[in-house]
């Protein structure tokens, strides 16, 4: 479904991504693993073609047979949200603080459909229910600051699902959440993948999140893909020294695993 070939991005004389190539199939969860500054988020922005204008880009991104770099801005706008959407890291910052949650969801629906006010409302409420938000009416009429971190993250996921995209990019969606909430959000993403057969590109710096979650993993280091493969294989026999360092730091941490968890 998604084919990335020799994608390179640079700002001035700094290469942020170099020669990135990978494929992503429908219904797959792929983990994109790397430390801060390795280019993970830049890759996400490149896939949506929303890089800053001073970025120099080469290579190709093909989505459902269409080369994204040859599309007009108008065609691209139709694709964003409807075919490829993104969930950002800080749920508190990604929502508009002065608009009610309901307004922000219907806003996206309205941009892609010409529905009546009533239908917009119903569809938005259905989306909020789908991400397992408890009190849909309360959430619908709330401002973002009135939500907890977990609720705000669910709202962002609902917003990303508005137009039933085929590919959802999640950029560290659980980094700012408690571990219990984090586990709930991962379970929700797995459920949505099953129900909607969507593909998920899950960006994280924590390999432990990917273990029982992703189908395969891409490891990035300094703008390059240093390793990719199925989750257990990569973590059991890491080849690149960055992955090895990461795995050994995880193993050191899990030494307490001997207490029987």
């Amino acid at each position: 479904m998604l084919q990335v070939r020799n994608l390179s991005v640079s700002f001035g004389s700094t290469d942020v991504l170099s020669e990135i190539s990978f494929d992503l199939k429908r219904g797959e969860i792929v983990g994109l693993l790397g430390e801060s500054g390795s280019g993970k988020s830049t890759l996400a922005l490149a896939l949506l073609r929303v890089l800053p204008s001073d970025a120099r880009v080469s290579g190709s991104i093909t989505f459902d047979g269409r080369d994204l770099f040859t599309l007009s801005e108008r065609q691209m706008r139709r694709l964003r949200g409807a075919a490829i959407s993104i969930i950002f890291q800080e749920p508190g910052l990604a929502l508009n603080p002065v608009l009610r949650v309901g307004t922000q969801i219907t806003e996206v629906l309205r941009a892609h459909n010409s529905w009546s006010r009533r239908r917009l409302r119903d569809e938005a409420a259905a989306l909020l229910a789908q991400v397992e938000l408890p009190d849909v009416n309360r959430i619908f009429n709330s401002y973002p600051h009135e939500l907890s971190g977990g609720e705000a993250q669910r709202v962002l996921i609902a917003q990303a699902l508005v137009c039933s995209p085929a590919l959802v990019i999640a950029d560290e969606p659980t980094a700012s959440l408690d571990s219990t909430i984090q586990a709930e959000i991962l379970a929700l993403l797995v459920k949505l993948r099953r129900e909607k057969n969507l593909s998920l590109l899950f960006i994280t710096h924590n390999p432990a999140l990917l273990v029982n979650f992703a189908d395969w993993v891409i490891v990035m280091c300094r703008g390059q893909i240093v390793e990719q493969g199925a989750v257990p294989a990569i973590f059991r026999r890491p080849v690149h020294e960055f992955t090895q360092a990461l795995v050994s730091s995880m193993n050191a941490r899990a030494m307490g695993g001997s207490v029987g968890i």
Partner: protein, 283 residues
Amino acid sequence: MTSPSASVARVEASTAPLLRLRGLTKTYRQRHLWREDRPIHALENINLEIPAASAFALVGESGSGKSTLAMCIAQLEALDAGEVWFKQKQLTGLSSDELRHQRAKIQLIFQSSALALNPRFTTIEAVTEPLEIQGSAERSQQREIALECMRLTGLTPELAQQRILTLSGGQRQRLAIARALTLSPELLMFDESFSGLDLIVQAQVLRLLASLQKSRSLTYLLITHDLSLVIGFASHLAVMQSGRIVESGAVSEVLAHPQHAHTQALIAAMPKWPTLQAAESGA
């Protein structure tokens, strides 16, 4: 049951607790313009003893009162009721002069050291500042102490004249620790200080802390919601929920036999890295 035993033994050997908390209570008021004020019970009757030279972890979800507890221990937040005993001294009700003296012994390191440090300072200025405030050494010595603390945390002297803005996240975290070490503290409190760091950097910082603990017999209070950070680092653990401590004990004990539902939920939510390791040793 193998790795934590060494530190546990050390904890039991030293009988007098470094820090003793008795019935700490703190209530905030959430103000409303047109509704009645709503009380938020951040701490409710907290009793806790932290042994000297131990690493004590405090876990709980956001809003459970962990940070309020740290602020109250450091006397940066006034208590409604209760007593904070540091060694043989009661901290509550001390005059500000006496308190400043005690504070040198208790250092709090915040979540994002990037924000807690003044970005206009050079690294050496940031590390020297506590010494200047406390007036605890000659000016010529201050610089030496600062450089020594930077060296301890793995920051080279070449970094001394750099602005804090130019440091990486891991370096800033080390700098925050170096700064806290200048006053030879006995208790270091880390309030989610590692959650923003990459895992490899996190592991380096934890190793550094473990070696500092040995060489300087420091006591650590580690506040986090990440249980996997606690394992292998802390010897004791207390779990907080809605302002109360719902469970506490030796880390290995609590994790192996969690009694409280909230502790069980935290353990269940922990990403399961060890299973992979088991698969590896099986292969």
